[in-house]
Amino acid sequence: MTDAMPTRRTALALGAAAILAAGPARAQAGRVARIGLVQSTTGGSAALYGTEQKQAIELAFDEINAANTLNGIRLQALHADDGADRSQTVNIFQRLIRQDKVVAILGPTLSNSAFAADPIAQAAGIPVIASSNTAPNLTRIGDFVFRTSVPEDQVFPTVLRYAVQKHGVKRVALIYGLDDALTRGAHDVQKKAVADLGLEQTGIESYQRGDVDFSAQLTKIKARKPDALILGTLAEEAASILRQARQLGFDDKVVFVGCNANISAKLFELAGPAANGIIVGAAWFAGYDSPRSRAFVEAYRKRYGSTPDIYAAQGYDAAYLLAEAIRRAGGADSGRAIRDKLAGITDFEGVLGRFGWSAERDATVTPKVLVGDGQARVFVTAPGA
């Protein structure tokens, strides 16, 4: 492994160099906007998200270039793989900005990398749009940092409000994973949303990673008779909780409200019919019924033979938003001009729906409330959402 790593790195570097060398030669007489595309395509699970985004962004660029919507400006993606390693991300940002003279960067894949590398782009006046960073306060790095990825705290309150309105939820219990940053983060958001809506909280239970027996916690929760149980859990744990709650004879009226991490085919595989009725929220899902979203899913499937995930959708919107900013700026010569036009976009119709920016340059999208269909094993739009 230790021997293979440098070799693979070298190969990637050579590959990247080859692409970069070929780039200018391929540039035609028309103007070219060079865009850095920093997505991990190696490096564990980050590679899954990175590859989805890279593919979606390349699809978007090809569509934009083919339609020639930018008055003769051609978008050129310079992809570099940081291997989910933030020191690599820093090197790549420096190279893209100093040598390759990109006018904007799409990425990086991981929030950790973004915190390390985005300040370089900020200092150089190059706008960055992330499409999979969900860490809190990311855009406080500076006014050149944007993101189309929607963090949990913009989704969950809508989901909980739906549960309150639709199912008359008043008393809630919460359960979450104690030793996982993702589940803890989700729990914090959920607890705040419960307090903000003025719901009565009847108990908080927790568990540790690897636990598969939740019966003690669930028995305790059941005795307190909540209207809803809120899950700050991974999909596997949510599945076990749903099954065991049914086995313990939870009232059918108890509503289960999940978090982003529960939106997974794994949930249905493991929970079976017990996943029926679980309510979750997402910025986007593949079944989202809008013309723009349907066209994207179809084009992505046709080109890559798989269904795009939410990161692909967010990457695709990031690419189109950037193109729109370049079009409005009338050229791709100044990072500052592109940033200003980008920040001014308030009415963009994206795959995720109507799109704008918050004061902090986070995407503002109406979250979609979804409900689990245990028989069909998919999430569908919640009735009346």
Binding site: E205, D211, V212, D213, K220, L270
Partner: protein, 293 residues
Amino acid sequence: MILQQLVNGLSLGSVYAVFAVGFTLVFGVLNVLNLSQGAVFMWGAYLGLEVVGTLALPLPAAVAVAFVAAGLLGVLSEWIVFRPLQRRGAHRWMGMVASLALARILIGLAQEAFGTQVVRYPDSAMTMASLDILGARVQLLQLVALAAALTMVLALGALLRLTNLGRAIRTVAFSETVARLVGAPVDRVRLATFFVAGALAGGAGVLWSLVFQSVSPFMGDAILLKGLTVLILGGLGNVLGALAGGLLLGLVEVSSVVAVGSGYRDAIGFGLVLAILLVRPTGLFATREAKRA
């Protein structure tokens, strides 16, 4: 609610007990700690799943296959880890570390063979059946787990007390040198012990996956730690103590959730070990006679 928690604790504890009985047997007889036991537990769960899932055979077949295959994995650990090391006169700590290495290899192989994602046994009438007893919901499987724990311990007790093999095992447990002097087949006894311990771990793996509906390559790590806890609770090498210790640990874990809070579940479980080691280092149930096998 108290009754329901009692059911929760006993069913959790009975799986701990089945696992720990084999664990403590190897320790009591051979005076070695076999840390590959958790990985054997996991392989038992996966092999059982292959039998009911891929081969679509009934559940008893899965238990049988898991039992025998995991027993053979136990034998394998004697052949490739403990026996060669013992022949070279290595310190028994070496066996422990080497068995940990074997565990990592077994986990790595499982990751390759079955992937890293959590899977579960298919639903059947037996896995879904449950009954209400005085307001507590008891799954049929929980009763099966408890019955299995009691049966296995009784069977093992009978084996140790009433059969020639049992007498030989107890002789080896007393002293391997003495056993060789009186002509007991020490090598065969060692293999038999590893087989029984592995088989119990594999059986526990299937039980666990049926009751909690979760199979993953890493499932053995948590139960290995619980097994060590039970070993201390029940007294090292004490088979009956392992049964009592397993049930006790299950009940303690559940009551810590009820009385203190779920965040402290493991802290209390493992805190108990520390307390027992300080106050009663031979374990809660240790007596002179029962101390080893």
